[in-house]
């Protein structure tokens, strides 16, 4: 975070604006994900999903990037706000950044479970003589397994950054005060 910006408008206001900018960023990336999904909809009108299963789903990764943007901006705001206790705005920003972290974690959990549920029991096998397109297992790993792993990694990162050892090395001067506040 630019120190100049922090000095100009204040640490509290920057910490307040960060999750909101993250929200706008997430919205834009989600829009891109939905547009990229348009080109994967071959046949979904008729319940035949084989063509989609064998395509690389860029949208899954874009949704993941959106979740990561909100998570990272929220956790950055949370860490900035940890030492803000002077004014009412700063105390409010502390609470707001905590809510933003929770919202980011909830969206991350919904993404992970949604990705699992939409792909669970959705990998049909057809005999080679049937003429249907066979599922591509490698694509499935990239479309389903890796996004779920990355989502879990982002959530663990956000939780650890937000709630475990929340004081940076250069901020240890405030550590005793933080502990006193619980």
């Amino acid at each position: 975070m630019s120190n100049g910006l922090v000095q100009r408008i204040g640490r509290g206001r920057v910490a307040l604006a960060l999750p909101l900018l993250g929200l706008v960023g997430m919205w834009a990336v989600f829009l891109g994900a939905q547009i990229s999904d348009l080109y994967l909809q071959n046949g979904s009108n008729y319940g035949n999903w084989n063509a989609q299963q064998n395509e690389f789903h860029l949208s899954t990764y874009l949704f993941l990037i959106g979740v990561a943007i909100l998570g990272l901006t929220s956790v950055t705001a949370r860490r900035m706000a940890r030492q803000l206790t002077t004014t009412a705005l700063e105390r409010a920003v502390r609470g707001f950044s905590l809510v933003a972290v929770f919202v980011a974690l909830i969206i991350g959990a919904v993404f992970g479970v949604g990705n699992f549920m939409s792909n669970f029991m959705n990998n049909p096998f057809y005999p080679s003589s049937s003429g249907y397109v066979q599922p591509d297992e490698l694509k499935r790993i990239f479309n389903v397994y890796i996004p779920i792993l990355l989502d879990a990694a982002i959530m663990v990162f956000v939780i650890i950054r937000a709630f475990v050892n929340p004081v940076d090395e250069d901020e240890k001067g405030h550590e005793s005060k933080e502990r006193a506040h619980g």
Binding site: L20, I35, L38, N42, G43, N48
Partner: protein, 175 residues
């Protein structure tokens, strides 16, 4: 001097309770009038205007109620009514923010789905196509961009700015 400050604080308290309601009524009536005059479903830009009026009312209400609260705290008065006004605006602000964010995401999704034109052929449920028919994806024209995508983006920005201002006003010079 002290008396005029008290009168001003009373006025702020009244406005703190009434401005969000006035804003809400204004926004709803505006929507109804436009709907009745044009005999159409409301354009998304009208919704943007409605949400802007609603949000402005809540920001102003928060500003007034916080000013009244500051006076009460600063002069050792009872804070029950002023605190109530602040809490009312906080709750309304949270509901408004959530509604605008949800509308923004749903309008963006709607705008994307408008780009898809499904093929007209009817296929029975028992028939599974081995070679699926792809839908047609229409280009994003400047008109479509202005009518569908920009309003959804304006709504998410409005939500962000609204939340920012609501928190700033709620904590303005609070003791």
């Amino acid at each position: 001097m002290a008396k005029s400050a008290a009168v001003l604080a009373q006025r702020h308290l009244g406005l703190g309770y009434s401005v969000p309601i006035i804003g809400g009524v204004t926004a709803l009536l505006l929507g109804l009038i436009i709907s009745d005059v044009t005999h159409t479903r409301l354009d998304i830009w009208i919704w943007v205007l409605i949400h802007t009026i609603l949000g402005s009312g809540m920001v102003m209400g928060t500003r007034y109620s916080t000013a009244a609260y500051n006076y009460s705290v600063g002069h050792g008065k009872r804070v029950g009514a002023t605190k109530g006004a602040r809490n009312l605006n906080l709750v309304l602000g949270i509901i408004w923010s959530a509604a605008v964010i949800i509308v923004s995401f749903s309008k963006a999704s709607e705008a994307v789905q408008k780009l898809v034109v499904w093929p007209k052929e009817i296929v029975s449920k028992n028939q599974v196509l081995k070679t699926p028919l792809p839908p047609t994806i229409e280009p994003i024209t400047s008109l479509r961009f202005l009518q569908d995508f920009v309003p959804a983006f304006v709504l998410i920005v409005l939500a962000g700015v609204g939340i920012y201002l609501l928190l700033l006003e709620r904590t303005r010079n609070v003791k």
